[in-house]
């Protein structure tokens, strides 16, 4: 019986504590919103990309598969419309430019495709537009001075592109470890890709 009484007392105390906390949080939220009626403007890019079910399909779709070290990261606003003037498929003559991040990469080894020279630049949407950062949603984080395996598509008149935002860059140091215990069939691992070239 004592236990029951203790539990009921605890219940009542609990209700008081959380009711009080709830009010404090609500008041703070209201004050915060009133103080910052207009918040900072943020730009985010959602990209509908082809997604790949296996390492085989990913590699088959890639023009380039290579390992390289990211030397530098810069931002450019690019007009990636394939044709100058009227687009032959859609009729659109003038297209808006898109903010991109350019990854300058020192090539370590090439598994598929041809890369002239020892460095290559890859582009991915997201970067700086009108002084504001534009973030590509859900994209793999790529940092300078790290080495990755990349899968990319090439274009005649533009930098090569990542095949998609999530399955195109594999951190060599991290993914070699991750691959050994990954059981998620949805995830393509670095070792699955490398196995294709053994």
């Amino acid at each position: 019986m004592k236990k029951v009484i203790i539990l009921i007392v605890l219940l009542i105390v609990n209700i008081f504590i959380f009711t009080a906390c709830g009010k404090t949080i609500e008041q703070n939220e209201v004050e915060t919103i009133e103080q910052n009626e207009v918040g900072e403007e943020i730009t985010i890019i959602y990209a509908d990309y082809p997604m790949y079910d296996s390492a085989q399909s990913l590699v088959a779709a890639a023009d380039l598969v290579f390992v390289g070290r990211v030397e530098n990261i810069t931002y450019q606003v690019l007009n990636t419309k394939t044709e100058d003037g009227k687009d032959s498929m859609t009729g659109l003559a003038v297209a808006d430019s898109i903010p991109y991040t350019i990854y300058e990469i020192e090539v370590v080894s090439v598994y598929k495709g041809n890369i002239a020279g020892t460095t290559i630049s890859l582009k991915r949407p997201g970067g700086i537009l009108d002084g504001n950062e534009c973030i590509l949603e859900n994209a793999t984080v790529i940092t300078s001075e790290n080495t990755y395996l990349f899968t990319a598509a090439t274009f005649e008149n533009s930098y090569p592109s990542f095949l998609n935002a999530t399955q195109s860059a594999y951190d060599i140091a991290y993914d070699m470890k991750a691959a050994s215990f990954s059981t998620d069939e949805e995830i393509i691992t670095l070792s699955q890709i490398l196995e294709l070239f053994e």
């Binding site: 906390c21 943020i42 730009t43 990309y49 949407p125 533009s158």
Partner: protein, 180 residues
């Protein structure tokens, strides 16, 4: 004694339920940003050829004709745009949204559709293009990519774009929950 144990267990359960701090975050199936209202405008896209105008029309009708409380209309002074062309990139579609960090409300958006990649991948070109267009408008209505559900959804990036081109019940219900 057993009765006391039952009362004790019930009391403990109540403590856990009432005491558990409930916090609402913008999360799957929602993005952090979206249109404040279900009624949105987009600039005229008449600079495209008739074929693509009809694809964009149908992508818009996919939402306007659904039971979701939304309406996309064309307005010349709109901040929002949709353009389709062949682009030197691997994406099918982009939706670039600028939004107020405090409210999450979109201040402007730009949708770009890549006819090049669609032509390479599609078995039914018009359906594929319309699927990509409708998907991008889904982002304007707060929907995120790849929601964690086993239900059919327009927002899944592994969907068969040749077939799945309309907002599904899951998508419509989520948009309804935002605007109704």
């Amino acid at each position: 004694m057993k009765k006391n144990q039952k009362i004790g267990s019930l009391a403990l359960l109540l403590i856990l339920i009432i005491g558990y701090p409930i916090t609402a975050y913008a999360a799957d199936p929602y993005a952090l940003s979206g249109s404040e209202s279900g009624s949105i405008t987009v600039k005229s896209y008449s600079s495209h050829n008739d074929t693509w105008i009809s694809y964009i029309d149908n992508g818009i009708k996919a939402w306007n004709g659904s039971t979701a409380p939304v309406e996309i209309s064309i307005s010349s002074p709109s901040n929002n745009s949709i353009q389709a062309a062949r682009y030197d990139d691997s994406w099918y579609g982009l939706c670039t949204k600028s939004y107020d960090e405090t409210t999450g409300y979109i201040t402007k958006f730009a949708i770009q559709i890549n006819a090049r990649t669609i032509a390479n991948a599609a078995t039914s070109f018009s359906d594929f293009a319309e699927s990509v267009i409708a998907h991008e408008f889904g982002h304007v209505f707060w929907l995120c990519d790849n929601p964690r559900t086993k239900l059919r959804t327009l927002m899944y990036q592994k969907r068969d774009r040749n077939v799945l081109k309309l907002p599904q019940t899951f998508d419509i219900d989520n948009v309804k929950a935002k605007y109704e």
